[in-house]
Symmetry: C2
Subunit: 584 residues, 2 copies
């Protein structure tokens, strides 16, 4: 296909759009790939649509390769199935809801577990029909609170979502691995720089859920990677290496002290060192103190909030996201001033575990607060702390949870060095969902023995339009976009920067030759546009190969440009052949 810039529905901009913060957003708008219609709602202009179609095609090929079957559910969905799984309510404000002319409730599908599950229930009844993996490439809707970064986080977006149905857990593991391999093939072909992150604790639950994160400072998700080895995980999924257990009886006795004005950890450490307190023969550090964070939790369906304590080493802040993930599906919030006021035993700045336990408040703790460890912590009285309060002797932990912030340099699991913190953009997610939806819809399948059995599901997603933004973000520089060959809307961009009739004719021949070889070409044939503007546009639009017919054309030479490489002079007579060779 040959597309001429003299005709293409395109206007490139020299100025960044006012609402754009990240590079991909700026460049995709400036280069005329996307155009904003409403917050988080974008039009794909011709170049953007071609690029998205190429991404879709790579995804489709790799899904088909392992036998997944494509179909297409509607976006407009009736309320009932989503009520049956409670997601009509659970989605809260993120769900676009609407009524039809008969006042029946509908939603715009944010994800389609309900639809796939009921389709399988209606159409299949025997184990012989399984396993089956179904997918769609479909437009989804989520009313994001803060749509941002152009198409990186939109409210209308295209996703590939797939669902596997297996009769056994081993089958699910196989379907999961099929997806994992297909996703690796997809992201490798697309040229994305990504990490596969445990989304739930790898140490505890195998690989029941993993996220594919494109590595990018523009990402909203923080994740960790090991310096040695390929361990990577969501911050929520990082498992703290527990402390070493000791015999609590061997710890020195706990002693209370007056500690004036020591509400902060820094002040407490200062006091301890001024007072000559020592821990194992050395000065006190923040990590020798114990923070008692008072929170309140609410179980699903419960009406009342309940107080709880979270014990962390004093050098760690609480990470609310990690805490929330640990306590899910319960809700959690920090205790308010009012909560402190209502509960006399909570002495702000001096809360310790003993008052919590004495008042039947549940005590959660970081895995480092292990049996036999001694801590400097609040004595539950104003300006008072206790030194040497020891787990398993002076107080007990109800439950260990992950609630502390992760820091660069924390130990990685299994001797893989230490952790580094990075930012990423979620581009894929694979998840062993189990029987949540098949049970909700009572999907009964006859097994080999004629008994009824409920199949187990996996759910898997790839953000298609998001990948347009991710590839832009990872590969662009401030001059413009830079598409990998497999994704580029056109593989070659031919620029005529010479007013001689011969150059124009040679360019026409070149694009015809490339087209004949099945190579899609963008042809800058605009007669009254200066070479400088054409070069700037070529840089901005970002095709993998740019051929310039310029001054050297009179000597039979054209310039071949590739992103990140020096331009090279090539014989005009065989540039088409050269490109065919490079592209096959």
């Amino acid at each position: 296909m040959i597309t001429r810039l003299s005709n293409l529905f395109l206007r490139t901009l020299r100025e960044d759009p006012a609402d754009a913060e990240v590079l991909s957003h700026k460049l995709l708008v400036r280069a005329g790939y996307i155009r904003r219609v409403a917050p988080g709602v974008y039009t794909l202009l011709p170049l953007g649509l071609r690029t998205v179609r190429n991404i879709e095609q790579v995804v489709r090929e790799e899904m088909d390769r392992f036998g997944a079957q494509e179909l297409l559910f509607p976006a407009l969905l009736p309320k009932e199935p989503y009520e049956q799984t409670n997601r009509w309510t659970e989605y809260g404000d993120s769900l676009f809801r609407l009524k039809d002319r008969k006042q029946a409730d509908y939603l715009l599908g944010p994800t389609h577990e309900e639809m796939f599950t009921t389709a399988v229930k209606d159409m299949y009844s025997s184990y012989k029909d399984f396993p089956v993996t179904l997918y769609q490439i479909q437009t989804k809707y989520r009313d994001e609170e803060r749509p941002r970064a152009g198409i990186l986080r939109g409210r209308e977006f295209v996703m590939k979502d797939s669902y596997s149905f297996d009769m056994t857990d081993e089958g699910l593991e196989q379907s999961y691995q099929n997806h994992r391999k297909a996703y690796q093939a997809i992201f490798d072909r697309l040229g994305v720089d990504y990490a596969i992150c445990f989304a739930t604790s790898g140490a505890m639950g195998g690989s029941a859920s993993e996220e594919f994160l494109a590595i990018s400072p523009a990402g909203e998700d923080t994740f960790v990677r090991a310096t040695e080895g390929d361990y990577a995980a969501n911050v929520e999924a990082v498992v703290t290496q527990p402390g070493v257990e000791r015999d609590p009886a061997e710890a020195p006795e706990a002693v209370e002290h007056d500690t004036p004005q020591s509400e902060t950890i820094a002040a407490l450490v200062q006091w301890a060192n001024d007072a000559g307190v020592q821990v194992e023969g050395r000065a006190v550090e923040a990590s020798d103190t114990l923070k008692c964070i008072v929170v309140k939790t609410k179980q699903p369906g419960a009406k009342e909030w309940e107080l709880a304590g979270v014990l962390l080493p004093g050098d760690r802040e609480v990470d609310m996201k990690r805490l929330e993930a640990s306590l899910e599906p319960a809700e959690v919030e920090l205790a308010s001033e009012e909560d402190f006021a209502k509960n006399d035993f909570l002495v702000k700045g001096y809360v310790g575990p003993r008052a919590l336990i004495a008042n039947d408040v549940k005590v959660y703790a970081d895995p480092r607060v292990v049996r036999g460890t001694s801590w400097i912590t609040g004595a539950d009285a104003p300006q008072r702390h206790v030194v040497g309060l020891t787990v398993g002797r002076d107080f007990e932990i109800d439950e260990y949870i992950e609630a502390a912030e992760i820091k660069e340099g924390d130990p990685a699991p299994e001797g893989q060095g230490v952790l580094t913190l990075e930012r990423g953009i979620e581009i894929g997610h694979i998840f062993q969902l189990g029987r949540k939806y098949t049970e909700a819809f009572d999907v009964q399948i006859l097994d080999e023995n004629g008994k009824r059995s409920i199949p187990t599901m996996g759910s898997y997603g790839i953000g298609i339009t998001r990948l347009l933004g991710v590839l832009a973000e990872q590969r662009a520089d401030d001059k413009g976009l830079n598409w990998p060959v497999e994704v580029a809307p056109y593989k070659v961009h031919v620029v005529v920067a010479n007013k001689d009739k011969e150059a124009a004719e040679a360019a026409e021949q070149l694009v015809a030759d490339l087209d004949a070889a099945g190579i899609d070409v963008l042809f800058d044939d605009r007669p009254k546009v200066s070479p400088g503007v054409k070069f700037k546009d070529a840089e901005l639009l970002g095709m993998p190969y740019v051929v310039v017919l310029g001054r050297a054309f009179k000597d039979g030479k054209v310039e071949l440009r590739r992103a990140g490489q020096e331009a090279e002079e090539v014989d005009a007579s065989n540039v088409a052949q050269t490109l065919v060779g490079l592209l096959k």
Copy 2:
């Protein structure tokens, strides 16, 4: 591509779905192409999706061929542009409206004139950028009052919509003709039996709007075709051949009569013939009488309804759709009992034109009620009629309009014989829209002289998912579907109906050979399914070629079946070659 029926996500049904009335709906559900999710909202199952994609591809190729450019607008659209054109209100209950979490108003796009127009306004400013034709293949939403016939009239459906922008009327005519030719090529390639119908009066306005109607008794639209020549038109667009004018002075004088119990035309004709009344020396017929139908109209923006009279030859019923189309954008209704009660001069059953005129009621008339013609009509008094009331002498017509029903055998225009009435399904519409939207959004473009000029638009649509239903409807019989090659989800369906190992092996080789030749094959490899069930499924699913490896396989023969043709025996050894030949 080879798809095995042993794996395909499919369950064929022997029973018609309870809610299905038309053949295509029944068969598409029974053959597992579509599945209902809500009224007018369907899932495309794997076979249905492949078929729709093939239809899309034909449309895309023919659009691209004349230089139309594809892009993709969102379905979720902000209210403001649709308010600017008043369509937010005009669409009434057909528009799906919703609010986002910030209570901003959105709609699900039923059509995208506003979006295309504002995109062109933002991106283009000079005549050099024109003409431009843009299109999308996109999911649209209309909250139909009566979704019906499966995907023939859905509430979520896929359309190709395109819009042309030209600086001159001649340019618009060219863009319109480009679409017209492309649509003919598309529907010809798809193998649809269709007619191109004037959607507005062909005699008056050239071809400003035409509809492509697939001919089908299941269609909701009635249209006419000429018995000689290719004239076809929507019923709304048919132009009545006017009567011959005469000198009113030459008509016999009008005479009033007592006509007891003559409220109906039949009774009036009976009275006239009993009374010995003659018209040009012959007995009176219904077409010699004149109906005065009292209606009321409301102009857009007006608060009050106004009375009006519609005069029709007595052998014609009023066709409200034609009347509405004639009076658009005004609304029109038949006068109510209350209207008669409030207006003493309206004597029910005996209304004539004279009382209407005397009371300043506007008089519309059928084109046959021409100057100099004489009529038997109401005398505006109970049980009284007038004979010989003559246009241009006894009363005048304010405006001629099309309001009478069309009948089989009415004269066709320009000596093309007579009209036949047929039913059709709208599959395409092309429309010279003019400057309605470019003016609404004040799209100012600098012309060659540096003056501001507003471009003129065309709008054009093809119902993509509807075509799936149309092709099913037109080509199926009660045993099953029958796809044309270009559209079929698989070109060949290979059935193993022989338990010998050699037959199974030969089938594997055959599908591999077809696949290697680029032919998509559906392979019924199900080991435990009887030949009878396999044949029934093959008939139901409707691939263009079915190859059966049956009893004759031991003699080196296979059966090749084509819809509507006798099955023929072919040498097993060269059936692949035969098929490649037939399909290339």
